[in-house]
Amino acid sequence: MSTPLKDRFLTQILVMFGREPSRPQAVAPAAQKLHEFKRGNRDFIAEKLHARAHATPSHKWRNRRWATLIVANLLFVVSFYLDIQILEGALTASRFVGFHLIDLNSALQVMLAHKHIINNLLIGTGTVLVLWVLLGGRTFCSWVCPYHLLAEWAEKLHLVLVKKKLVSDQTIDRRLRSVFWVIFAVLAAVTGYTVYEAISPTGILSRALIYGPGLALLWVLALLVFEVFFSRRAWCRYACPIGLTYGVVGIISPLRVKYKLEGCFHEGDCRKVCLVPHVLDTVIKGRAVDTEVPIGPDCTRCGLCVDACPTGSLKFDVKGLSKLL
């Protein structure tokens, strides 16, 4: 790894905790060359206009992801209703054909509140940790979490209202999520109650799907209303401690989206669709520190940018695998 890439790897961790991305200190010579080439190159601009005219929007990854999310959640529902015991429990904790799976953030809350860890809890947490290290950390958010899907639909509504100038996106300080993470960890340890679990829309929705709806859904509805009329994707962007927990797991994950500087027209379509646009700061003109830049750990690997990119400059990538092939 080049030094600029190493620096970026570290700053992207800070960016996940809430720091605003900034212009890189150093850029690799090869990338610098590309940046200079693109500056005012007429051929490049002509090529860009041509590609823009012929771009066809793709929903490949979005469709695959929605299908996965729905199937994963339905598997819980079907396992219970048909009593087929494939995936028993809810997203907070479950058993997949007998193997314990325990959500990392829920496990953390229970460990901090109860201060006693039994073997099954440890096994389930360990299994899930390994699973999401392999699959990309916040992949959990966009590929499994049921709130993510509802929030995506609410976001569409929000964007329609924004277009009609009825509402505008009110941004909030991203550092808040890290603050919430600490507050909820401390609350669990001090009060002895799993305080966050009481308001976790992920847990509430998962249980509502499996065991039937309840009043707790009103809280989820309130969050969605807040997102539609006030602040785009507020819960996932600024509040959810589950996202940060899985984000940390994603730091060392081999599965991520990779950016290739060469073909990029720097139009920013990817940043417009992204839940966490701060991870895509590298696509801004002159910001890429190398010719190939892996996207940081806060990325949910949702693939919306991969779908949106007209030049194929953003692609899913497994670290080391491309070298092997």
Partner: protein, 281 residues
């Protein structure tokens, strides 16, 4: 434009930008307050709870139970009579935690092995409490309870160390046994959805209580259907005026499963489970 000289190397913010930043801080505070307010309001139901919840068998003491329950509902899924339900928002921090509404559907141990404990991934429901958690006086059972249904098996006991409550004759004036009355018909009427395992019908399949009518000259349904050996019996007792009469009497082996409360044919039930109650001699 701002008249001030820049204090740092950063260019000064325009008035508009400053205002935007201020508003953003306000919004951040708003979201912080809203989320924390919602989260901490979960404490109110605990502080003002009118009625304590009966937790599933093997549950830790309430505070430890709520600390350790991960709210996954695996206990709900294994229960053959669907006795376990998950609490809703009105339970505050207890939202998503399992409880039993004994009058609607009691735990009749028709799973034979307390499956909910087996299913629990965090030890909220447990056969053996960790050593650092004390057993309240009177909560521990003197001996492992014998399950009447398994009495002839090689291992007739339930692996339960503590009770989840104790049955109490809360409305003796309504009790048919005390009045010397019999009972004929469906214990809880034709509309009752509760189920129970009747050994003489099918050991492995619980049936609706309404499909199992009774005809008894002297009501003893609570004693007859109690799944635990020697937990309750009909005894002759003396009233304050010296007259003799029959009455259900609860004994030490009572684990608080709630079958007596469910089966009691008077409305509301004459006998009830007091959740988390201990045995007092």
């Amino acid at each position: 434009m701002s008249q001030q000289k820049p204090a740092s190397s950063r260019p000064p913010l325009s008035k508009e930008r400053q205002q935007q930043a201020r508003r953003r801080v306000l919004r951040t505070i708003l979201l912080t307050g809203g989320v924390l307010g919602a989260a901490l309001s979960g404490y109110l139901p605990l502080a003002y709870a009118q009625r304590q919840r009966l937790r599933p068998p093997g549950a830790l003491d309430e505070k430890d139970f709520l600390a350790s329950c991960i709210k996954c509902g695996q206990c709900v899924q294994v229960c053959p009579v669907q006795a376990i339900r998950l609490a809703d928002l009105i339970d505050g921090f207890g939202v998503g935690a399992p409880y039993i509404d004994a009058r609607a559907q009691a735990c009749d141990f028709s799973c034979d092995a307390v499956q909910c404990i087996l299913a629990c991934p965090t030890g909220s429901l447990t056969y053996h409490k960790p050593e650092f958690l004390a057993v309240r006086a009177g909560a521990g059972l003197a001996a492992k309870p014998i399950l009447k249904a398994k009495e002839k098996d090689a291992e007739p006991t339930l692996n339960l160390a503590e009770r989840i409550g104790v049955a109490r004759l809360t409305r003796p004036e309504a009790c048919l046994a005390i009045q010397g009355k019999g009972f004929k018909g469906q214990a809880r009427g034709p509309g009752f959805k509760g189920e129970m395992r009747y050994m003489e019908v099918d050991r492995w399949k619980p049936i609706p209580v309404r499909d199992h009518p009774y005809d008894v000259p002297e009501c003893d349904l609570c004693v007859r259907e109690c799944p635990i050996k020697d937990a309750i019996s009909i005894e002759t007792v003396y009233a304050p005026d010296g007259t003799q009469r029959k009455s259900p009497v609860v004994h030490e082996p009572c684990v608080g499963c709630g079958v007596c409360e469910m089966i009691c044919p008077v409305e509301p039930a004459a006998i009830e489970i007091v959740p988390r109650e201990v045995w007092k001699t």
